[in-house]
Symmetry: C2
Subunit: 296 residues, 2 copies
DNA sequence: CTCCATTGTCTACAAATGTGGACGATAGAT
DNA sequence: ATCTATCGTCCACATTTGTAGACAATGGAG
């Protein structure tokens, strides 16, 4: 098994441009460095450094070799620092669970910069639409989108965002079928619903008036982007969070229907197991998400 | 100076989940490995592995340490391979220049897999809309989108793609203003043009008939995506390469106008300085791009 | 419960590496 | 041309590491 210390010795010697300066810097005899590099060159079968008593140049292949040797050195120092706790920022794994749409719509934008901000922290996201027992399954944070308030489950709840649910349709559909003027008009329109058992939409306006409306089911899909595409295609009217259809609305491929009314709202809440002495890394994640989202 | 071989020994032991299997794999005595890892733990002052005669688990800090140790091993192997010439792939820097739209539309998809395919090659892309003197400014490859054939500039030309330019409009616009049935109908339609001095569109069909048509200038922009959005918004008819409006066409927010006719085509050509002994890395890039694009 | 195959640890001894100091080479100062 | 300070190399000896084999521990098979 090759002596990989020789790679590091070589990297140091190149960094310091000579055996004598490197020996002084490392506080080891220069004969040690000379011997080690000579041995390395012998076993590799190449000349890494051309040197005389007063000249010192790294060969071209020595430069290539040096790059990897230097990278090794960096990794070695990082390994040691990990153990010695030199790096002060949060570290370790933070396990997050969220539904697939939440993962796609919110976390896909948030987690990469989080990971960049905390290089020593490892973010692990589990996106699933099944029920997750947060404590039992060892997650640190669960991200929940919900329409009604969450029950008290003994976990710390931190609301981080609220998004209005809007009725939208394509201009083509509305030109073809007419603009609804009142929620009751919706019963004569084609609805793009999440499911056939959906009870329609509960509309609320700023005056606090609440109306339950039931459009004609025209298209069913329990995936928001499919509903979005269907709406853009002019199939009918759908109800989606503002965030999901913002791009299409801005592009004009979708427009608001009954702009003074909202079909409820969706709240995003972080759930953390309620245990004492929460890890700094979990706290860092929560603070990061809170800072990046408008308060609900 | 710490014995960094111990880091590598540790990485091997973790990889093989035990001293005995690692010893067999490395063909060294297990006592050597046991002693080295024990020494490493002693000097670091932490337990990296919990083990008994039949149990073997890596501690959490051992996992963190392992990641860097494994990275060290990879660098060591790469260093050795550099010298031994094991890596056959091209290396060094390839400098590419292209216009901003070309960079966004084509290279943004091609260059990441290229860089993945050739880990030893460093790809440097300079995206600019100003004139670039390829040879003078030291580029290896220039990617040019052009409508007319390129002049003979003494450089090697390699056509790699041709994209038809289509007339498109939103369904809303067409329902409102009617579908053109013939190119001559376009003179009564709103045109979304690249510039006011644009001489309209030169239409060609499969029979080889060529017609010059001039729509009413309704919106001017020399940025394709702005034209795209304008078309989607129902402002009029525009001429764009198929590639640019493919998503909207698939989504139904844009439809073909006069589907039997094309408004010319845009060709993508790679330009390389014509010098003898072209670098293997440049050749590799060209071959990669050619293989990934449909021939023009 | 017993037996057995295999694990990881320990240690005395063999082998390899680290080192101080001498020495030839060299480039700059005088 | 000469001198000097410092370079990298070499080598005999000191120090450290590698190893074979014994041994306690352990989990699965019977």
């Amino acid at each position: 098994m090759r002596n990989l210390n020789d790679f590091i010795v070589f990297a140091h010697v190149v960094d310091h441009k000579g055996f004598a300066p490197a020996a002084r810097a490392l506080n080891v005899p220069k004969s040690t460095l000379s011997k080690r590099v000579a041995e390395l060159e012998r076993t590799l079968g190449v000349r890494l450094i051309n040197r005389t008593s007063r000249r010192f140049t790294v060969t071209e292949i020595g430069e290539d070799f040096y790059r990897h040797a230097a990278a090794m050195l960096i990794e070695a120092e990082a390994a040691e620092a990990v153990v010695k706790g030199r790096l002060a920022e949060p570290s370790g794994t933070v396990r997050i669970t969220a539904s697939v749409p939440t993962a796609q719509m919110m976390l896909a934008d948030l987690l990469p910069p989080l990971a960049l901000a905390y290089p020593k922290m490892r973010v692990m996201l589990h996106a699933t639409d099944r029920f997750v027992d947060v404590v039992q399954e060892g997650f640190d944070i669960a991200v929940r989108d919900h329409f009604a308030p969450l029950p008290d489950s003994g976990m710390v709840q931190r609301r981080v965002a609220t998004d209005a649910i809007l009725l939208v349709a394509s201009p083509a559909y509305l030109e073809n079928r007419g603009h609804p003027r009142d929620p009751s008009d919706l019963s004569r329109h084609d609805g793009l619903l999440a499911s056939l058992t959906s009870e329609g939409w509960t509309m609320r306006n700023e005056a606090g008036v609440v109306v339950r409306v039931r459009p004609m089911p025209r298209f069913l899909a329990d995936e928001s982007h499919v509903l979005l595409s269907a709406a853009v295609s002019g199939l009918g009217i759908t109800a989606l969070p503002r965030k999901i259809c913002r791009t299409e609305m801005e592009a004009g491929s979708l427009v608001r229907v009954l702009p003074d009314w909202e079909a409820g709202s969706v709240t995003t809440t972080l759930l953390m197991p309620h245990r004492r002495g929460q890890l700094p890394s979990v706290r860092a994640v929560v603070d990061f998400i809170v800072a990046r989202l408008p308060a609900g």
